[in-house]
Symmetry: C2
Subunit: 339 residues, 2 copies
């Protein structure tokens, strides 16, 4: 039996959608044990309403009533009581396999780092969302903001890990990896990026392409976008906001007059399909990688589809028996090569 | 008489559009002297074709036949002969007021830095494009990639300069300035960004908002987006590529079938209007700021509209007699405050 602990409280839309997602997942995956961490009363109320013929007895319920709260540092998440902190404590104490939350990224990353053991040879964890691309394929981006400072070694570690994740999640063979930079020329960018570029070229078993620019990342030229945390985060947020912004402008256009409204109706079906492809809910949450446990951060505004997909993202990894073994083997090889 | 030197050779589409743009500008601005640097024979041929009743005698023509070429460092632009290098040399030797090129950004920035005197109290130059926002207003972004390493002081310098530029270009009163970061919380981001945040808050005469995220930058929450060169460049390129990517996907959707094609026709007018608003040709080129001369980099794929607009961007600044004086005053005040 695989075991997931789920912080259902820290969600922009309240506990409701988290419970719907958990119930939808559980009804299809009876072999999964799920511990729901949140306000017990609300959780039980929500479960009583559910149409999945599941009851509160199908879940473990961990009562915890506080939202995560940080003011001047994400490390405060370690001190202030919250359902997120309780979820991490539950994960460790009961040796669960995975954790899911849609709460504050900084707090979640910090607690992951402080509470869960790192995989051997991994120097730093990374934040790794699954992204859409205009080519219709999905790409992995890391690090998307777990680290402010990055080293060439970290980037190499992350490449190895992301390589294994990509092969597993997308059933791919030899995913193409690119390093996000301000230009594709080798002389461009910071010293650390240049060092990482050399190191990655020398790393065997990686299909490393070299430096890439944002356009390559967006157009699906690579399967894995490596980035330092600062650039990766700016890239991620800019892409999300641009697509959202364009969508809003398009909606405004369609509402101009009767003619454009009819026009909008005629392309509506295809437009919705496109919207779905770029919808974070279908694209999925972000993995926090480099840890002994499977850690997934769902979007703050997740609904039931998003949460069910996030749970499926965890399942992907947990169902693959030899995943952590393969990962550790890959990592140990690389670190031997460096020495 | 104001004097502009224009490198017409380094353009993805050849000399043709550069000459069209220069002729269109000159026909409306007889008080401007323009030196065209490029292949003399081609320039004269192109000018002979022109419908503006202008002849080669209306321009200074500087014969220069090499495209800018750099292989491993933009500093090579200083050694390898090129029309860009010749344009800079002409600018300095003949004490012209401004320079325009659509050639390689790295080479252009490097030559600007090495050939032109910096304004007093300016520590580093910055690359400052004019950007569209979803709110319909235009924003200034700097630094968008002239510097790999940034300091808090540089960011403060740039804020002062961009403030003057914004007031001038957009006739604005008290432009809102934000510092691009991975989050709006004060504890987020690199040490340099945090230092800059404190410094900017203490700087008088600036309408400084604090840290902003990419979404704020895209949605027009601020008038001036301050950024370190690496983040600013990633932001700029990601935004451009996202909008382009979305546009392509939309085009594909519209071409699905007869129904969607009709739908596309019905919204075409509004869509073109939107496209124009986000078109770099109408938005304009990028200023390289912090220098005694007016320096503008046009887009590599510029056409005649783009070049004419880039020349108008130069005119904006040159026509304002007291611009450089105001700029110097602003800068001297600030630097006194720091001391």
């Amino acid at each position: 039996m695989k075991k997931i602990v789920f912080d259902v409280l820290n969600n922009d839309n309240g506990t409701h959608f988290a419970i719907l997602g958990a119930a939808a997942f559980k009804s299809k995956n009876k072999n999964y044990e799920i511990a729901l961490v949140g306000d017990k009363e609300i959780i039980e109320e929500e479960l009583a309403k559910k149409p999945f013929s599941l009851t509160k007895d199908d879940f473990i319920i961990v009562d915890s009533k506080n939202l995560v709260y940080i003011k001047s540092s994400p490390r405060e998440a370690l001190k202030n009581p919250s359902s997120m902190l309780d979820a991490f404590n539950y994960l460790i104490k009961n040796d669960f396999d995975a954790i899911l939350s849609s709460g504050d990224s900084g707090a979640f990353t910090t607690l992951s780092m402080l509470k869960i053991k790192r995989l051997p040879n991994v120097e730093r964890i990374a934040f790794m969302p699954v992204l859409p691309s205009t080519k219709g394929i999905h790409t992995l981006l890391l690090d998307a903001g777990a680290n402010i400072e990055t080293s060439a070694q970290y980037l190499q570690n992350w490449a190895i890990i992301a390589n294994e994740y990509h092969k597993l999640i997308f059933n791919s063979n030899n995913p193409v990896i690119g390093l996000l930079n301000i230009g594709s020329e080798e002389y461009k960018g910071s010293t650390i990026l240049k060092e990482a570029n050399s190191l990655l070229k020398e790393t065997s078993n990686l299909n490393y392409l070299g430096f890439i620019e944002p356009k390559d990342a967006i157009n699906g030229v690579v399967d894995i976008i490596l980035a330092d945390g600062q650039n990766g985060n700016i890239f991620l947020k800019t892409m999300e906001s641009s697509f959202l912004g364009f969508g809003k402008l398009l909606k405004k256009i369609i509402h101009t007059n009767l003619k454009t409204k009819i026009g909008g109706l005629l392309i509506k079906k295809q437009l919705n399909k496109l919207k779905n492809e770029f919808d974070y809910r279908n694209v999925g949450g972000a993995y926090i990688i480099g840890l002994e446990k499977v850690v997934v951060k769902a979007h703050g505004g997740s609904d039931e589809i998003a949460f069910e997909n996030a749970l499926n993202q965890i399942k992907f990894v947990l169902d693959k028996e030899d995943f952590n073994k393969n990962l550790k083997e890959g990592l140990s090889k690389i670190n031997n090569e460096i020495k």
